[in-house]
Symmetry: C2
Subunit: 216 residues, 2 copies
């Protein structure tokens, strides 16, 4: 079964999904619910992500309740106010104009947690952080699957992870990895919004690839 | 352009790629080189990953040199010896029988680094770790693209990241995120090897999903 050979057409489908995936914010989500079956399809994509030592150290909290969303949004507002102060002059003026989350606009929010194992995990003994990285691989699988299903997803990282844990009643040892906003959209932008706005330039391949070592 | 609607056939292609992706070790790689064009296709998939504030904080070092691979493998052996001691009894006996890397067997190794920005990054002001998570998203894009191209990839995390940095001459502020082994394979296993060997059981969806909060 797993010796299935994928075709160049399959590669092109994957490439297209990757290229058209966007980080979606609240100004794009429309008022249309996402069915439980669709959310389950996203979660099943997550469960097929790689994980160190097959530890599958992920947990997901689905949030639809508006009171919970309001509490999360309050943490965003607080953290975003602090963030604004870190940018200067023109960049700060541009920053405040950006819509950076869709917590209340998206019908479904998904908080993704890392649940550390109690014992040693194969492959995690030298680089403890790879447990968290497994959870990130699951998030990226969800993001690609969402785009393939024509569903928008946004990752909100301007949050106090401790407050999010408290709001959601997460166990003390769990760590918040990602807070995702999920819903249908009016459009997927042709390029990343921050590229369109020239906040940052797209890096060329040759500027980030080295051969054999950094020095050579 | 980005308003392209993907079909259920497209979703099925993506789902199949995700389900047939494997972590590939040295007992599966065959002696067949991977063309530069194929490696470039993997790297282009990486460059289309999401990144916090469009910071694209990734750097890649391509390694084909056998002397460099031998040095990396030496770090693996040293760290793996330490790892063995962390497992007990039957688990330890099973651990030592596993082939956990393909550093020398794979024709191409790719070290993936996180290059932190010097100034503030939009979206990274409250959770600094999301810069590293962007790099992990790039790795997962590469992994899926490799499988779509019928190329195997393995992630080696039993390494001393500081030694890898020294071997590859990485700048002090860069951090090793992943060390990847890339090459053609004799077969992709039908299920993850650690699942087949019953090292860990596959988790069911309902065991990792909560609704509204952990307590409810």
């Amino acid at each position: 079964m797993s010796n299935i050979q994928f075709s160049t057409d399959d590669q092109k489908v994957l490439e297209s999904i990757m290229q058209h995936r966007r980080d979606v914010r609240g100004n794009r989500f429309i008022d249309q619910d996402v069915a439980d079956e669709a959310i389950e399809q996203l979660l099943l994509a997550a469960l097929h992500a790689p994980s160190v030592g097959f530890s599958q150290p992920w947990e997901f909290v689905l949030v639809r309740d508006s009171e919970t969303k309001a509490q999360i949004a309050a943490s965003f507002n607080e953290e975003n106010d602090k963030a604004i102060a870190q940018f200067q002059d023109a960049k700060q003026k541009e920053y405040v104009r950006l819509k950076l989350e869709g917590i209340r606009e998206a019908p479904v929010n998904i908080a993704v947690f890392y649940k550390p194992s109690l014992g040693p995990v194969l492959g995690q003994t030298s680089m403890e952080e790879v447990g968290r990285y497994s959870v990130v691989c699951a998030v990226q699988n969800m993001w690609l699957m969402a785009r393939a299903m024509n569903i928008g997803m946004g990752w909100v990282s301007i949050l106090d992870p401790q407050k999010v844990k408290t709001i959601l009643g997460a166990p003390e040892r769990n760590e918040l990895i990602a807070y995702l906003c999920v819903g249908y959209v009016d459009e997927f932008l042709p390029r990343p919004e921050l590229e369109i706005l020239q906040w940052e330039k797209r890096k060329a391949l040759q500027s980030v690839v080295y051969t054999e070592a950094y020095d050579k």
